[in-house]
Amino acid sequence: MAERAKILVVDDEDVVLLSIRKVFKSDAFELDTVQSPQLGLAMVESRNYDVVITDLMMPGMNGLEFLDKVRAMDPGVRVIMITGYATMRTALQSMRRGAFDFLAKPFTKEELSNVVHRAMQRGSMTEEPADASLAGASESAGALEPGRTYTLRNHSWARIEPDMRVVIGVEPHYLSTVGDVSDLELPKPGEGVSQGGGCAKLFTADGRTYSLWCPLSGRVLTLNTEVMENPARLTEKSRDLWLIKIDPTAIEHEIENLL
């Protein structure tokens, strides 16, 4: 039997802790739950966790601060932020600062177990380093350069095309955590996508479905039929293989949430 995954959950809401317990009740997981960030830090210090799942808004310490402290104590631990949908910007900022992923409440069992499953994949691919310079290091709108690639760290990338449209693809690190992609579901042209919302569903060989967060908001213009017809090509982990092309609608504001 493989080593049990050690997970710490920090949330001040009892029902959330209970819910997460329901998801990880199998013997494959060793779950600790605490209700305060201070207790959480003490636990991280004393035990060696694989994954820390934490609420983004807690009394006493905000999620970003907690994230920084956890990563300072144990750089190897993967931190998953649970967020209310209203605090999307903070969630995206936490990605820049080294969170492994985020999940908006209320989440399904599948969403939670999938993200933890990904976090447990210690592939050979190294993570993109977090932005250490942190707060305020945002790009101004004037820095929008065609040809440059911006990333929603460890998730998706966005490249500004010469016509100021944007193509979006999957980050290599993300692909290395989901395994072989067997199928792909993309939004239709004309539909809207929003930053931090899903912009692609990746179906993997092991039967899981992953939702890829979109790096920028906009309207879908075209899909890359090359990838649509042959999703397996994603395993090439090439940043030339884009999924969708969008007309960004709020790039000046949103770019500061990307790396």
Binding site: E13, Y85, P106, T108, M164, G192, S194, S217
Partner: protein, 499 residues
């Protein structure tokens, strides 16, 4: 209490009418008085001429008794007070007043001064003269002094009373009382005053009526309406089709009230949206944790139960409906978190054409024709391109949804040079709305689509356009289609983003 406008105007009009009519009447009165006196003088001359003619025969024959008789009979007539005849030396030879006969008058007497000027060195005027004088009885008299000239028959008469070298032999004086004339003049004056008074009263009355009808009544209406608006209530538009300044004032008032009503509606709407937004954010935040519990517990029940468990369907319902709640909460939060527009110069034509291109591919547009006829010279507007696109997409999609059997969506623009706003008009030939539906379409959670949507689209659009300093209006009726008019402020700087 201060004088009212009407009172002031009437006082002014009465004052100037009195002045005007008084002066005119004064001049007219003087003119007629002079004319009447001229007439009297003329009559006096004729009388004295007639007397002279009657006396001539007696004078030729020196019949003093006959002369005295004529003079006294003329002098005794009611219209004549006194007739007397002087000789050159100023001695009254004959008079209707017998007592003064053969008395001498001083040459400085008033009657004599007519011909003999004050200055005795001057030769006397040997022509007919007249004077107006007040008699001892305080009656005005007209005195006619008619010289009697010498002629051949005078010095050749058998009496030899006169010599050939004399030019004037004496004169006849006729004094006529002007009592009748004075009476007429008095009556004339009274008539003039009465007429002037009547005219002043009539003018004042007409002025009062005109002021009332043209100014006071409409002003009172405007004042009343203004007071009501000031007191926080709306009034019906004031009626008055006049084109004058008062009509313009009424029109301006109606327009002002209309604008105020529109902005008040907008304020109420903004307030509603803002409070709904706050409420939504708060509720969404609080509801997320319990929803997490419901969702994962329901899913756990599904996972743990056998596939033939009779409650499986119930669990599925719980899961499905919780997922629905999740979507509602997320949409609510999208609505509650409208980002401040990133204002740049936006080519609205470009935004609309992009929106049209995007939606044309959607299945629901298969039966719809989009006829976008936008002016080529539309100015740039101040706005957030992304948000504006959201608005136009929403309106175009709504238009298509209003026409399930297909039809034409017309998109037009309107802008006159100098207008601070441009208009984009989007109309469909669809089902339209009742006036009740129309009242609520911009309110959050109101939908005519029967629960298929959450009714936030138009609310969000409304909020976006309002933040842009513009407005959205709707004109609709059941089965008559719907027309949305979006107004956006023109960008004065004329700068373009992303050249």
């Amino acid at each position: 209490m201060p004088f009212k406008i009407g009172t002031k105007l009437v006082i002014a009009v009465v004052f100037f009418a009195i002045m005007g009519i008084g002066i005119t009447a004064g001049f007219a009165f003087d003119f007629y008085r002079t004319a009447i006196i001229e007439e009297m003088i003329q009559a006096g001359r004729q009388l004295s001429g007639a007397v002279k003619g009657a006396l001539r025969e007696d004078m030729m024959h020196n019949r003093t008794e006959g002369m005295r008789q004529i003079i006294s009979s003329v002098g005794n007539q009611a219209e004549v007070t006194r007739v007397r005849m002087f000789n050159k030396a100023g001695i009254i030879r004959y008079s209707s007043d017998a007592e003064e006969e053969n008395t001498k008058v001083d040459k400085r007497a008033e009657a004599c001064l007519l011909c003999h000027a004050n200055d005795a060195s001057q030769p006397p005027k040997a022509t007919l003269q007249h004077r107006l004088f007040n008699g001892d009885d305080n009656v005005l008299y007209l005195g006619i002094s008619d010289p009697v000239y010498n002629d051949r028959s005078c010095w050749t008469a058998p009496c030899h009373a006169h010599k050939s070298n004399e030019s004037v032999l004496g004169f006849l004086e006729v004094d006529i009382p002007l009592t009748q004339m004075e009476k007429k003049i008095q009556t004339g004056r009274l008539h003039t005053v009465l007429f002037a008074l009547a005219a002043v009263i009539a003018i004042s009355f007409i002025t009062l009526i005109l002021v009332r009808q043209l100014i006071l009544v409409p002003v009172a209406k405007v004042v009343d309406a203004t007071n009501r608006v000031g007191g926080g209530e709306w009034t019906n538009p004031i009626y008055g089709a006049r084109q004058d300044e008062m009509g313009q004032l009424i029109h301006a008032f109606n327009r002002m009230q209309e604008k105020m009503q529109v902005s008040q509606r907008q304020l109420i709407m903004s307030g509603k949206l803002a409070s709904v937004g706050k409420l939504a954010a708060g509720v969404a935040h609080e509801i997320n944790n319990p929803l997490t519990g419901i969702l994962t517990f329901a899913e756990d029940l599904i996972d743990e139960s056998d596939t033939d468990d009779p409650r499986m369907e119930d669990y599925q319902v719980i899961r499905r409906e919780t997922m629905r709640c999740r979507e509602i909460v997320r949409n609510l939060l999208d609505f509650a978190r409208p980002e401040k527009p990133a204002i740049t110069s936006v080519d609205i034509r470009d935004v609309i054409m992009k929106s049209v291109k995007l939606v044309e591919r959607l299945a629901q547009f298969q039966n719809c024709r989009i006829n976008a006829d936008l002016q080529l010279d539309l100015p740039l507007v101040r706005g957030d391109e992304g948000q504006l696109q959201q608005v136009f997409l929403n309106l175009i999609v709504n238009a298509s949804e209003a026409m399930p059997d297909g039809g034409e969506i017309r998109i037009a623009s309107r802008h006159e040079p100098g207008d601070p706003l441009i208009e984009v008009i989007i109309s469909d030939e669809g089902l339209g709305m009742t006036s009740d539906q129309k009242q609520h379409i911009f309110e959050p959670f109101f939908s005519t689509k029967g629960g298929r949507t959450q009714g936030l689209g138009l609310s969000v659009s409304w909020g976006i356009i309002e933040q842009h300093g513009g407005s959205i209006d709707v004109v609709t009726a059941p089965d008559a289609g719907t027309t949305f008019t979006v107004r956006l402020p023109v960008d004065r700087s004329g700068m373009r983003w992303k050249s």
